[in-house]
Symmetry: C2
Subunit: 443 residues, 2 copies
């Protein structure tokens, strides 16, 4: 038997804010509401906040899961007005103002939905088996497993063609995630694994980055794309732009470039191409009449509320709000953080009977890292690449890492790795792993 | 198509040593043979060496898996005569001198088998579902998951009796693993989780340590057992000795103490009681006529060879060799390390045509840790407990942590945790984790 967590209704009890999702949007909203005169419940399926921008480091063996995640309870424990609830939302009752979890209801006066996005295969969901995406810790461990297993299998392989297939890694999509993944994978193969095998030379691996548009990092300025492409080339990544994947089977991709169709043999394919909003968007469409865009994002009012439902706010990747250029704001951490803060402040002002200005995104710049001392940065008033951009990237990511301990750990690890090309977190793990022989031998 | 890894036979080619198992025994044997005039192949099912003595820290959220494990290839890459092979042994051809893997054969001139032990339920293997043991990284993550889920469920529970069941944790077996696990779990519940929940007080959890013998740490001297028991009591662990588990179902244990039978409601049960040698012992019995003891360990000659097969050596937990007191040597890391070294030196002396003295274990002492500044140490000539023993424990464990990076990381993490009672690695993860709602909503 489970309970509704918030206090009962009544005009004298504090305003009840329910936040769904403990990513950047939800967490920054919760912190802003901490120790204020509202009663907050943060609901997340997982018990931790994940620092998604570093997930690719887990996928390539540079960091351990615990180093880029912090328990939500720990991050928020100093705020006595915040209750953290591990639970999964399955529906919404907008009339009774209750969030429906798989195992109980949570009533709200204001609701902030910040459930983010996940990867997407444009209707080819079966591609996921061949080409896993990168959104969760589990996704990252699956990528790490596939990458390391490919090298192990190549070491055992005698057929040269099959061996080269095993040593071919394709990353689909050259947005920031794809570029960072390709750079880290190239470092792993070309530097970290050197001298570790006896029958293969990991530096002979092919790392191929595919992009359907005409340049890498298509959302960045063209000169930064060019700089990123040059840095990738120096790491030995083969970049192929204007190239679409039209079919995918185990070990074989079908590519199209203009009218040309070709097949590419690759043992490992990683997906960094498509994004789609989380399923809560569909719930909002059904229950609150929200309109969704093609990616399933909720088209919100300028103050991030759902049209017709001022008590429901949407922050982060799930929200579609146009920026000054008329384009929807990008699905990046700074947008989610600022929107989380904004929704919290809007609610606080409302409780005080004050009005708010529309949300405005302050773009403090974009950063993407390529390998161990190259990156590109676009701060709006200035754009630069190379080592300086890399330092800026390190600085920003360390600053925003949520747990104090994680910050020190990750920083010391990076300092060490920088000088040694080391990538220590290279375990191939599986749930419920059991040795085969014991299974055979046991009664 | 896969290949046999070693060079072909022939008296002029170097002596081929195959080591099965990359635990303490196998790894120390390999390092000793590194860059010597033998050709070494180390075979392990996993791609990493695991520092098992700290596994309980992963189970209780103090450390991440990557911090107590190092890739075998990395540890051994400086030895050019060593090939690391990830593979699983399924049989042995003693006549042809080939180790049979699931996907290929590895011929040997000398074979060192160091496949260790796993937990054991004395014929009640179905208990494993209720009470997982602690031998692999995956086991530790499963324990962590169950422990953290129990607190989450208790936070949601309104029925007081059921809530107390969820907050009752039983550890079966008070050897070193059970004692360390109970101490770490008590610290987690009574200190680290303080202020993190709103409806439960984790410090009200019951941590119960069961032992069938008359005292905890039965293999230690009685005064150290008494000291350990006092330290456990200070941490709030309830120790129940002379108590056997006779039945186990979900949430209910049946206990027997003398003639008294009782039932104990407990939401989480952790197994630290039984050990049994790995299944390679049975292969050695069938193929090489080896005799096994009750625990499945191979009864070896004084030089760790299998009777009648001087070319096959057994090191570590799989070997049954009696110490000076007539009792089999305990299944602890120092025995495995020394036996690994011994087997390597024996082979090197044989290749040079020299003979060897029998193996002799040099007991440098026993250590068990209970919580954050209590431990017990028995160095043979002196026994002591408390803070000094705890410092000795930290020192020894840091010294033996295999990767240089891991040592620094773990030490800085411990220093931090010591001052803050922090346990940051508290993620609940699962393989192929997917949100429920997305599953419902997707086509």
């Amino acid at each position: 038997m489970t309970q509704a967590i918030s206090a009962g209704p009544g005009s004298l009890s504090p305003h009840r804010v329910v936040i769904l999702g403990g990513g950047f949007g939800g967490l920054y909203a919760a912190k802003e509401l901490g120790n204020r005169r509202v009663q907050v419940t943060l609901v997340d399926k997982r018990n931790f906040h994940l620092f998604q921008p570093l997930l690719y480091q887990v996928a390539t063996g540079g960091l351990s899961p615990g180093e880029i995640a912090s328990p939500l309870r720990t991050v928020l424990k100093r705020f006595e007005n915040i209750t953290v609830l591990q639970g999964e939302a399955v529906d919404l009752d907008v009339k009774e103002r209750k969030l429906i979890l798989a195992d109980g209801d949570v009533p709200y006066d204001s609701l902030i939905i910040a459930t983010g996005a996940s990867h997407h295969y444009f209707g080819r969901e079966h591609w996921e088996d061949v080409a896993p995406g990168l959104k969760t810790i589990e996704d990252a461990l699956e990528m790490r497993r596939r990458i390391l297993r490919a090298f192990e299998a190549a070491e055992r392989e005698t057929d040269p063609a099959r061996r080269q297939t095993l040593l071919t890694f394709v990353i689909v999509g050259a947005g920031p995630t794809g570029v960072e993944l390709a750079g880290a994978l190239a470092e792993l193969a070309h530097f970290s694994l050197r001298h570790e095998y006896r029958h293969i030379d990991p530096s002979q691996s092919s790392i191929i980055l595919l992009e359907g548009m005409e340049r890498v990092l298509p959302s960045y300025a063209p000169d930064l794309s060019a700089e990123a492409e040059a840095a990738l080339a120096r790491l030995g990544v083969v970049v192929r732009t204007n190239t679409m994947v039209t079919d995918m089977e185990e070990d074989v991709l079908t590519l199209r470039r203009g009218d040309q169709v070709e097949q590419l043999a690759a043992g490992t394919v990683l997906w960094a191409a498509g994004m789609k909003a989380s399923a809560m968007g569909q719930v909002l469409a059904q229950r609150a009449g929200a309109e969704l865009d093609k990616m399933g994002r909720v088209i919100v009012e300028p103050d991030l509320t759902v049209p017709g439902h001022p008590e429901i706010l949407v922050a982060g990747d799930l929200a579609n709000l146009s920026g000054r250029d008329g384009q929807p704001l990008p699905g990046v951490a700074p947008v989610a953080m600022q929107q989380g803060l904004y929704t919290a402040r809007l609610i606080l002002r409302r409780v005080q009977g004050r009005s708010s200005l529309p949300f405005r995104y302050r773009n403090r710049g974009s950063l993407a890292v390529i390998g161990r001392h190259a990156a590109v940065a676009d701060l709006g008033f200035v754009r630069f690449g190379g080592f300086l951009a890399w330092l800026a990237w390190i600085f920003v990511h360390i600053m925003y890492l949520v747990g104090f301990e994680n910050r020190i750990l990750v920083f010391s690890k990076w300092a060490y790795d920088y000088f040694t090309h080391n990538r220590g977190a290279r375990l191939i793990t599986e749930e419920n792993w059991r040795p085969q022989l014991s299974r055979l031998m046991q009664p």
